[in-house]
Symmetry: C2
Subunit: 683 residues, 2 copies
Amino acid sequence: MVNLDKLFRPRSVAVIGASRNNQKVGHLVFKNLIESDFKGSVYPVNPKAKTVLNQPVFSSILDLPKKVDLAIVVVPANIVPTILEEIGQSGTKMVIIISAGFAESGPGGLENQEKLLAISQKYQLRILGPNCLGIINPSLNLNASWGEIIPKKGNIAFASQSGALAAPIIELANEADLGFSYFASLGNKADINEVDLLEFFNQDKQTSLVIAYLESFQEGQKLVDLAQKTTLKKPLVILKSGQTDQGARSAQSHTASLATPAKITKGFFNQTNIIGADNIRELINLTKLLNQLKNKKVGEKTVIITNAGGPGVLATDAIAKSNLSLTKISSTTKRKLIKLLPQETNLDNPIDLLGNADENTYYKASKIVLSDPEVDNLIIILTKQRGTKVEAIAQKITQMKTKKIIIPIFMGGKSIKKARKIFQESNLINFPAPQDAITSLAKIINYQKRLKVKTAPNKAKINSQKIKKILTQKNKLVFNEAEGFEILSACQINTPRFIVFGNQGQGLAALEKIKFPAFLKILSTEIAHKTDLGAVQKINSEKEFLKHSNIMNKKFNHPEFILAEAVNGEIELIIGVKKDYVFGHLLMVGAGGIYAEIWQDQSFRVLPIKKNDAREMLSELKIYPILKGARGKKTINLIEIEKALLSIAKLAESFPEIDQLDINPLIADSKTVVAVDIKISLS
Amino acid sequence: MVNLDKLFRPRSVAVIGASRNNQKVGHLVFKNLIESDFKGSVYPVNPKAKTVLNQPVFSSILDLPKKVDLAIVVVPANIVPTILEEIGQSGTKMVIIISAGFAESGPGGLENQEKLLAISQKYQLRILGPNCLGIINPSLNLNASWGEIIPKKGNIAFASQSGALAAPIIELANEADLGFSYFASLGNKADINEVDLLEFFNQDKQTSLVIAYLESFQEGQKLVDLAQKTTLKKPLVILKSGQTDQGARSAQSHTASLATPAKITKGFFNQTNIIGADNIRELINLTKLLNQLKNKKVGEKTVIITNAGGPGVLATDAIAKSNLSLTKISSTTKRKLIKLLPQETNLDNPIDLLGNADENTYYKASKIVLSDPEVDNLIIILTKQRGTKVEAIAQKITQMKTKKIIIPIFMGGKSIKKARKIFQESNLINFPAPQDAITSLAKIINYQKRLKVKTAPNKAKINSQKIKKILTQKNKLVFNEAEGFEILSACQINTPRFIVFGNQGQGLAALEKIKFPAFLKILSTEIAHKTDLGAVQKINSEKEFLKHSNIMNKKFNHPEFILAEAVNGEIELIIGVKKDYVFGHLLMVGAGGIYAEIWQDQSFRVLPIKKNDAREMLSELKIYPILKGARGKKTINLIEIEKALLSIAKLAESFPEIDQLDINPLIADSKTVVAVDIKISLS
């Protein structure tokens, strides 16, 4: 457990590289610290200067009158190691390295960064950076960064792997009156990374919402664990860039990051209930909305009132696309509305108040709708038409007393500027158009829904001893189908009935155990495309068995054979395990069949998983409706598929040496689930 | 051909229902007209008033001193028919009906609207509305609407099916200095619809860009034709709402619209090169960008320069998702950049100028990049960091002389406000974040790309006489498989070899023509689920043929049979024709197989199609990479699939009585394409 108190709440700070030149970062950091009304001591360190901004300068951290809590390093990259040695000697443990020129700048820089780590281990230092902007703690008036804009005080903790991207976000947040508990720029994450920050933000009482911009993940296993704990207490919103191959390459050169493909990120977010933001606009929207909602419970049942039909239709489209539900207006509520509204009003949802609606119409209609127990959220749309009293309506809406969610969508430019301000002052967020509001709301509703999911540990039982015996065969890293089938049996996963034999005589003798049709295959881990090479044949009779085993015997020079019964079913799935550099073992389930690679219908989890993850993984597949028995078809035996997923998860957890595992296909119907082919390899 | 000159350029206007009450729409419309510096004559008509706004009032349009070009009706719905009669008698032919209470308000209103149409036919009137905002022609200072905000003069024509949605769009457009040639609110589209407006906008020389918000389409065939002609001359951007089922229901109650499912809209847009906007923000972004680009040619090769790595990564993600290409920086360009930029600069695309980049760095780097012939577009990202001279950089960028596309993305709030203004004054659009800019740019590039596609007529040859003979059988609306196969043969589409027989003897006699395996089926158009009912059997030998034909003969009481050879292939497709209320015959091609309904991988075209549409339809499918031979597989015979599509298109065009046609599956491999099952019905 890392304690970042001295990073975020230092009582004394040294700026090493505090410069007289007001164009230099070392000057700016020192200036920020002494001008930001921070109550602790701040010492400039610079061997070449006597004073900086009228403060006496120390030539080394070792010359300071006392040991400081935090050292900030802003010197050229090549000097950083020497400086870090001195910091270590001084007894200071917490360091921010702002200097660039490390892992992000190529092999030489990476080598330099590794030097830093060696020194930090020697002295047990903790380092934020290098190549970062620093940190800000608004409640201490502490701006330990070279950033220009200080966020307001509040409850949002913000970690950014790009300092320069944080600047506009903080500026926009300030203009929206959003307050922050902490800001930290992660830079190259040589030591302190998102896991450390999350641990601190999770425990911090002042922080009620955590947001982050990340270009890569580190320490995946810890991150999953911590994210799961955090999201139970407070929402965690992450904008992850580098989600495409090109973007990942670009992130690599920016902060020396390891890539995580988008679909693995998605699985990780779902598993941990992280709210993923798709872009900067959405990150800001989610932050605003979560900050407004605080601990309010949000539901799916949404009503729209509007003075304009068009935006109502657009909002309806957005609601349908977000899987929210447009509440059916109850007859009780309709009776109340009829008394209020003109005869030609459409009382179905969206409720069209018509173009001449005034503040009272808006207020009373809203009140009636919000009093309906079947309504969770109210979206209030307005376009300024002739005579529309925009500010009066906004004012009246802010007077509404309700625990339910109100989202105003007042559309336009200057004409709604004052209304936007009125809402902001009452902690309501005005959205400029329906779609963004509704997409963000849907994500927040989904977050709250997942909070209610009951989790249970994965209690799948596997015969570890039997599996161990197979996996620990001397020098064996790749396993044949028969060994694979035995491992699956030890995991209580069905396989086809099969026999293994070396010569035709043995085969014939065992043939009575097998039903036709069956597949005769060469038992080899070395033949890659068995079908193309004639190493697989469908067999319908003893006669065909004799014929094809003869041909294959000649062709492959007395090989070992496996004969396995053909399996029929409704649907083909794929189950896989692979090792990820960041997250360790990943479990995948996906749609199988000939188009599997086109549809890319897969869902992922980081292992270990919980019991409920198995069903959730299936429910994230596009083919889930088919599994559930869409179009009058029988429901596929989901319980058995879940069991198979949980067993494979347990298998990979119990045998970390498994590098890759592929069951393709897993054939399922309403009754049985059978793993028809399996590949396992160790690392 | 409708001439809307008198709607958009009237020399005289009467406002029927011009009211003294300044809260009434009739007052507002009249006020707008006389206060907007319109040079034509404007007459108020109102039997109950002597003057309105100091103008003498006429009690009927029949009392006016002369026949007016345009009559605007703003009276209660129930009086509108009477007023329309008078307009007809007065000789005025062009009418705007602003009054609401017609088709949008239920069955009674619809009846009322039909009355209007009867009157308009009697007098050959043309009506815009009812239930609309009116029209605006900024170049004539003509505000014939009750809207408050007049757009600036310019070259954008804007049609909106929601008047109230137009208001914020026009306000935002004004603030972005966008100028309009015309604005028209369509309302219920009882008479004048998007086809009429498009015809006018297409021919209008002042209009260089057409944008529209539509909740429904009308006269699909004409619309396709006109959209195709228009987009060759000027871009046409449409935001179509009601794309979800819920949204369509909501549009229905708003403007009495017929629904068009999203995937048909997509096919229609692709076929006509309409640029589809997904939401209001995108409509505005596309409008801004198209207005900036004018006739500039845009290409796909994009370079990003940035002073911040994070937004560069996000922009790269957006480019990859939009299928644009991030240009590889040439060694020549790199050599030039090395001289300019600090050593640690990343010269790969995105080019990171680093946080301290000033106006000269931005200017020179941009100039170097733009001089590279391999670069089409330059995206210039900036976040305000300590010392960043935002305005100076903006100013310098506007001085760049180039025919290539420059898109500034200066991020932040107040700190970039002035820069935004500087760009706006130089006709450059600043985007607040990368994604929106890149998505819109990609759509515009795609529009220009499609302009270059060479089209050719569909010259598929079908044997119409033979088909006619089958389709015109007495009282027959549904056709059996054998008849379907004959029609396909007449369209030069392969079918399996088959025989039809009534008794086993005939069947046996013909059996030598057929190869096993084959499918024995009952030849009936009445049995819906043949497989489930035992009306289909796979047959591998004469023996099996005898057995199963016996069983089926008993079960179905001496039916007619069809025996058709089984067909193997790599891939299953579906080809369909159906009739749409708005567009007429639609052609569909989609992925077949058991998951067809889940993937919904289909593309549509309105018939008739051109030759190139067949390939384009296929290229819009998600399985197109498989058809093209992804993963080392052989290319499917695309030429034959295209031929089949073109033949089916020709078939449906030649026989408009075809109500529905389904080829499911069409089985294809690298050599042959065979229609294995077909259903045809007439209306």
